[in-house]
């Protein structure tokens, strides 16, 4: 008996010795290192995000992460330019990924992905579309946003609507019915605000509803060539004109700050609103008694297959040029982008969408009936992000400038106007590649 006990004890001792030996051996082969991580998060969100570092440190005990918040893209560019870039970073605006990838400002991760056999298919295609450019994967997706339609349940019920609109014509009918005017003809409450340049980018909603493409396979703008653009602009204008442009402009001018607690939808100035999934967190914090439903933004009548998809935005994590600890940075961004537990925790805390398919269906993911539709929108195969180009989002601004003129009735010939926009965008693209070999 005693010999057995002794043997067991020795076994246990050797085993522990071996494992601790291995563990400390592993730790011994890695010197403790501190890496810097910059993100654009602030205050509460920064704290919530950086909690993920705890789990990371447990997995890789020799790496400590020092996080800094409040960093916008231009500080990142200045730092890369000045040679004092952080080891890893998170950016809120993947619009510039095209520029950063092609200039090497964010390091090419292809070789690392291959070496680690990192599976990129765990991300939905849309997430990969804004983290890589022309075959170079220079970033990984990290938390995403999806857009849909918010509806005030009580207002819809009072007007006799029980289902969310699935087509744009249904949406227009509902928007008109839900509108209340004052005695002098001005707008008191509107069904939906279709103004370009107000709150979120409504052009994205419509473009997604029609499935209208920005560019063709050769990278040439399609606004005047694909009839869906003209169709969507005409739809928008008909609703604007029904309100009366001046009435609508006046109504919009009196809107409070989008991210304040007097957001139009939250105080009942509009019955329906195009917004991102984070709005649920705002409503919960500021107007918890508001009864509302969420659903995908309707599809164009001619494109029923688009229903269920939505416009997508997201954050990305990357290793900038000049990172002093690129190997450890790679471990960190891999963790932040793909570790299911980490992502589930982040998503629950920040109320953003997890970027891997696995995390989207993980049991620990907190969901409520308001939040649930956004997961589906994000993973819908037709959901898109605006395509990456060497000119970042400049083409979006160019279109927006035209769209605000259009909705005010300042464009007499729509086809010619769209051709002008196409020419402007293609000139911008040409200018960006001036001086390079064709």
């Amino acid at each position: 008996m005693r010999r057995l006990l002794l043997a067991a004890l020795t076994c246990a001792c050797t085993l522990t010795a071996m494992t601790t030996g291995i563990a400390s051996g592993v730790a011994a082969t890695h010197k403790p290192v501190t890496i810097t991580f910059w993100s654009a998060y602030t205050t509460r969100e920064l704290k919530d995000y950086q909690q993920a570092f705890v789990g990371f440190h447990k997995k890789y005990p020799w790496i400590t992460v020092k996080g800094t918040g409040n960093i916008q893209d231009d500080k990142i560019i200045a730092a890369i330019n000045g040679g004092n870039a952080p080891d890893a970073l998170l950016s809120f605006s993947p619009n510039n990924t095209g520029k950063f990838c092609s200039s090497g400002a964010w390091q090419n991760l292809n070789s690392r992905i291959k070496a680690d056999k990192f599976d990129l298919s765990q991300f939905p295609q849309v997430a990969l579309s804004y983290s890589g450019y022309k075959g170079v994967q220079c970033a990984l997706p990290a938390l995403a946003d999806a857009y849909g339609l918010y509806m005030n349940t009580a207002m819809l019920k009072a007007a006799g609507f029980t289902q969310p609109p699935k087509t744009l014509s249904e949406l227009m009918t509902m928007a008109k019915k839900l509108t209340v005017r004052n005695s002098d003809g001005s707008l008191k409450r509107i069904g939906l605000n279709p103004m370009f340049g107000h709150y979120e980018v409504f052009a994205d909603a419509l473009r997604q509803a029609y499935g209208a493409p920005w560019f063709d396979a050769k990278g040439q703008p399609q606004l005047s060539k694909d009839p869906r653009w003209a169709a969507m602009l005409k739809w928008q204008k008909s609703l604007v004109d029904w309100y009366g442009y001046k009435n609508l402009a006046k109504f919009t001018a009196a809107s409070a700050d989008e991210f304040g607690s007097s957001n139009d939808f939250e105080i009942g100035r509009v019955a329906m609103q195009y917004d991102g999934e984070w709005r649920t967190a705002f409503i919960k914090a500021e107007h918890p008694d508001l009864k509302y439903t969420t659903a995908p933004f309707p599809a164009a009548d001619s494109q029923p297959g688009q229903y269920g998809s939505g416009s997508i935005a997201g954050d990305i994590v990357a290793i900038p040029r000049g990172s002093k600890h690129p190997d450890e940075a790679w471990l960190l961004i891999k963790y932040l982008a793909s570790d299911t537990d980490a992502i589930v925790g982040l998503s629950n805390r920040l109320k953003n969408l997890p970027t891997t398919k696995a995390a989207n269906s993980a049991p620990g993911l907190v969901s409520d009936p308001h939040f649930a539709p956004f997961f589906k929108i994000f993973t819908n195969s037709k959901s898109t992000f605006n395509p990456l180009t060497p000119i970042g989002q400049q083409y979006g601004d160019t279109f927006q400038a035209f769209a605000t003129k259009w909705q005010a009735g300042q464009v007499s010939d729509l086809t010619k106007g769209l051709q002008g926009v196409d020419k402007q965008i293609s000139d911008e693209l040409k200018q960006a590649s001036a001086g390079t070999a064709p």
């Binding site: 000045g82 009196a254 700050d257 607690s261």
Partner: protein, 284 residues
């Protein structure tokens, strides 16, 4: 009898003229003052009232001032703005007095050419220099810090040099000649004779630069825009629309708080201001 009636008529006409003048002055004064009044009233309104057309706040909500300070790092921004304005203005006074003295009291060939060069730099649009300066500062790692706003102040400013030169030129030559005869060096001349006499001008230069830095948006936007902890108040306020939890009553409260310090400074130093302005405007 006629003379008395004539004098009465004349007095009446003067009275009417006086009333008319006062009326116009008051009317125009109302135009200048009413924005202040409306802004202050709105700053004291509740959120719901601010979103209506009401002009008179009821109830009065002084708590807005506390709210805007606690929701935005307004105090930190104010400190940044004060630091930049103060240091940069001190630097300007120190770095502009010697060149102004040289251009005003020292005789050397090419003096007029140098002065013209200084003047001509005032015509250069700032846009021409900002991009290479941005690149330079990013190489130095200064982007996001307050250094790009402070350091250039220590290297002269054309307008301040011009102002001081004009003033230095009004100092009687007899004083400096006498001191020169006594064997004083130029430096001692500057420090012991000219500077004490030029105190109002130096104060005016300090105040002008202080006001300019306090109000400036462009330079902070370019060089500091990347780091909200280093914002100046101008920059922070301009971002109001896109930051969270801000609406009109808080925006107006912040504007009031932003304007108050320089208004108080003005009243404390009123004479120096006006003197400084007239020296440049008229004698230029």
């Amino acid at each position: 009898m006629n003379a008395i009636a004539a004098r009465q008529a004349a007095r009446r006409q003067r009275l009417l003229q006086g009333i008319a003048r006062h009326a116009v002055l008051i009317g125009v004064g109302f135009v200048f003052v009413s924005p202040f009044v409306f802004v202050i009233f709105t700053a004291l309104m509740t959120r719901d009232q601010a979103l209506t057309r009401a002009v008179w706040p009821s109830p009065f909500r002084f708590h807005n001032f506390y709210d805007v300070i606690s929701q935005q790092p307004l105090l930190r921004w104010t400190w940044n703005t004060f630091l930049v304005s103060f240091l940069s203005s001190i630097g300007t006074v120190l770095s502009c007095a010697p060149p102004a003295y040289a251009l005003a009291r020292m005789r050397f060939r090419g003096r007029n050419a140098v002065f013209l060069l200084v003047l001509s730099t005032m015509m250069l649009p700032v846009q021409v220099t900002i991009i290479p300066l941005y690149v330079l500062f990013s190489h130095l790692g200064w982007i996001g810090s307050l250094k790009p706003l402070i350091v250039p102040g220590f290297f002269g400013d054309a307008f301040s040099i011009f102002l001081l030169r004009q003033f230095f030129m009004t100092i009687p030559g007899a004083l400096t000649d006498a001191a020169r005869v006594d064997g004083a060096s130029e430096l001692r001349l500057l420090l012991r004779v000219v500077v004490p006499l030029a105190k109002p001008a130096l104060v005016a230069v300090f105040l002008f630069n202080f006001l300019y830095c306090w109000n400036d948006l462009f330079a902070p936007l370019l060089y500091v825009g990347a780091d909200p902890a280093s914002y100046t108040v101008s920059l922070g306020l301009s971002e109001f629309r896109s930051s969270r939890h801000v609406d009109y009553e808080l925006m107006m409260a912040a504007c009031v708080l932003f304007t108050l310090p320089v208004t108080m400074l003005f009243f404390l130093a009123q004479r120096a201001f006006v003197e400084g302005v007239t020296v440049t405007g008229v004698k230029g």
